[in-house]
Amino acid sequence: MTNNFVFEPDLAAKTIHLVREFNAPIEKVWKAWTEADLLDKWVGPKPWKAVTKIMDFTVGGIWLYAMVGPEGRQQWVYAEYTAIEHGSAFSSTGMFCDGEGNPILDGPKTYKDTKFFSIEGNRTKVDMMITFEEESTIRMFVEGGFKEGTMASNKQLDELLASE
């Protein structure tokens, strides 16, 4: 079944539009995006693991988690929730962190608007708009060590596919 993945950068507008369909009802998908123990299971590209330190899914609340690498390398990721429509949408502002997980408030920020739609077949479509202030914010994600993680993950996937 196709997941209709969309990845549309608009550099002039500094946005990236992502769309993805999931083979699960909206309640489950919403849970997976908003509950720490579930988020920790999918947001770390292998072999990186996401470990949530603080999760307060309320407007003004934050999600602070560490991306922990195979050699104990660690990088904090910080997001503040700015709007929540339960079961259908939320917005957050992401910030850089220092080594202790404190947000750098005057640093560049990313803004994320995530919307959830119930679609035919008890499936769910997630629509996410990421707006960033600077090149460095996107660089943070791809040069923060996840690059190696992503490559390892591809390899694992290849091995998995080969073994089936």
Partner: protein, 101 residues
């Protein structure tokens, strides 16, 4: 003030300057002739584009020519590709998780 590629292309005049230079190097005078804006305004845009490293100045004889630097734009493509891959991987992991929920 930090300069980056996104800042270079955030402005419509700067995008127009870039699309002209993709076709070939130009002197500041020749560039300015394409726009109704004041020469000073165009100079400012050129300065920003140079600071963003999407333009390079080269002297040919007594004239300065501005050249488009495709390398700088390619960097963005590479970052975006990695970013896309990261999300793809995450979503694949989420698929697996949702199956077990």
């Amino acid at each position: 003030m930090r300069r980056d590629v996104f800042q270079a292309i955030a402005d419509p005049t700067r995008r127009a300057i870039l699309s002209l230079l993709v076709l070939g190097a130009m002197t500041p005078n020749a560039l300015a002739a394409h726009f109704d804006s004041k020469r000073q305004t165009i100079s400012k845009h050129i300065q920003i584009l140079t600071e963003c490293e999407v333009l390079v100045q080269k002297k040919t004889g007594r004239e300065i020519y501005y050249h488009f630097n495709p390398q700088k734009m390619k960097e963005i493509d590479i970052w975006l590709e990695r970013f896309r891959k990261m999300w793809e991987d995450r979503f694949d992991q989420l698929d697996a998780l949702l199956e077990d929920l």
